[in-house]
């Protein structure tokens, strides 16, 4: 116990701190990547063709296609739907502006309401 402690004390404090920091950074980045993977996978799938989506094992490399996007843009009534979203968000923002207390941020609230 005492030997280990003196050894730890002898090691430069700054170095230990830096190493701890590196461990934290690596762990933090890996967890973030883990949390972002579903998003990444969604974006990836959006560029896939029907054939590539339903394959086992799931493919990471494929010939990307914009067909889905083109089809969606042609079919969906985007402007109208986007307008609906904007109306709701702006409504929430305006209400926040009207009733906000000093120091609170309306941007964050609008985000949360959304």
């Amino acid at each position: 116990m005492t030997a280990a402690r003196t050894a730890a004390q002898r090691r430069p404090v700054a170095l230990r701190k830096i190493r701890g920091n590196h461990v934290r950074i690596v762990a933090g980045v890996s967890i973030s990547l883990l949390f972002l993977f579903p998003i990444f996978w969604m974006v990836l799938t959006s560029f896939k063709q029907q054939v590539d989506i339903f394959t086992t094992p799931p493919t990471l490399f494929f010939t990307p296609a914009l067909a889905t996007y083109v089809e969606y843009l042609q079919r969906a009534d985007i402007v109208r739907r986007l307008l609906n979203t904007v109306i709701v968000a702006v409504g929430a923002g305006v209400r926040c502006r009207a009733t906000r207390s000093p120091g609170s941020s309306c941007g964050v609230l609008t985000l949360l309401v959304y």
């Binding site: 934290r24 950074i25 933090g28 799931p58 959304y114």
Partner: protein, 303 residues
């Protein structure tokens, strides 16, 4: 300020002063009555009446009949139990994960801001979309999760077919979606911790563990308690993720109380019973929230 008020009082008299003050509050009161009080009292009325389909409103007054029916319904108790299991596992998991991750991503380096910003993304994804993404990832045949687990020799899991696993799936999706929110709060809390206390502890020879357990944690307790209450209020409303991913299945394994009420009301048209359930859940939530708030205040005082 007081002078202004005193001046007003002289000009309008005591009654007039009150009138002026209330007139400023009137818009808020009217708004709250319209969007908050009216729906609640309307639900209350329906819960004590038989629902009349022909006028689509409260019919005959039946007293506590609806409540009796609901309390004898085993499905109601089942869905309450399911909700409880979800809450008991998901809430502590999310709060612990949130603060842990916040500690990790608070490490000082160039990409810290970027990581912090990226971490918010799961929270802003619409719940239905989140359910959709995870349905794709956890698909038993084509999903990438089973593929990865297969690589390390873990057998194919039927994420949506097995009752216990379905619950785990819901908790995973919910944790994925809401942990970033707690990370957001926890990051701010960790940055706001006073540095001098830690320096004093270091000078006194505290090791890493003692610093975490006896210095950081007591300072964080009020924020952890507050986060828990906020998250609890969000978690009892769990509905959309279940709707989008398992729809209460398999069987009734993930049929949380809100989904059950929704189905009873808008699928089976048992509006009166559903209203009774809503009132029971509302009272339960209010009582528990009160208890949590009280507990968190006690915790704050004892540290």
């Amino acid at each position: 300020m007081t002078q202004v008020i005193a001046g007003q009082r002289r000009r309008y008299g005591r009654l007039g002063d009150l009138l002026v003050r209330w007139s400023f509050m009137l818009p808020t009161i009217v708004l709250l009555m319209a969007v908050l009080a009216y729906p609640i009292f309307y639900t209350l009325e329906i819960s004590f009446s038989s629902f009349d389909m022909s006028i689509f409103g409260a019919g005959e007054w039946v007293g506590w009949d609806n409540y009796e029916t609901v309390l004898q319904d085993y499905r109601f108790w089942d869905s309450l139990r399911v909700t409880l299991i979800y809450l008991v596992i998901a809430l502590p998991l999310q709060v612990a994960l949130g603060f842990g991750i916040a500690f990790l991503i608070n490490a000082e380096w160039g990409g810290r801001g970027l990581i912090r910003a990226l971490f918010i993304i799961p929270m802003v994804v619409a719940p239905v979309v989140a359910g959709g993404i995870w349905r794709m990832i956890l698909d038993p045949l084509l999903g990438i999760m089973n593929y990865f687990l297969g690589l390390v020799g873990l057998g194919p899991f039927d994420w949506f077919g097995d009752p216990n696993l379905a619950m785990a799936t819901i908790i995973i999706i919910d944790t994925w979606r809401w942990t970033p929110f707690i990370v957001l709060i926890a990051t701010a809390a960790l940055l706001a911790l006073p540095k001098d206390v830690f320096e004093a502890a270091k000078i006194d020879g505290a090791n890493w563990w003692a610093m975490l357990w006896s210095v950081a944690l007591p300072l964080l307790v009020p924020i952890i308690a507050a986060t828990f209450v906020i998250r609890w209020l969000g978690a009892v409303k769990l509905f959309d993720i279940v709707l989008a991913s398992t729809y209460g299945g398999p069987g009734k394994a993930t049929s949380v109380i809100n989904l059950f009420i929704y189905e009873e009301a808008f699928r089976s048209f048992h509006f009166a019973e559903s209203a009774a359930m809503v009132m029971i859940v509302l009272v339960l939530t209010m009582v528990l929230t009160g208890l949590f708030l009280r507990g968190s205040r006690k915790l704050e005082e004892s540290f």
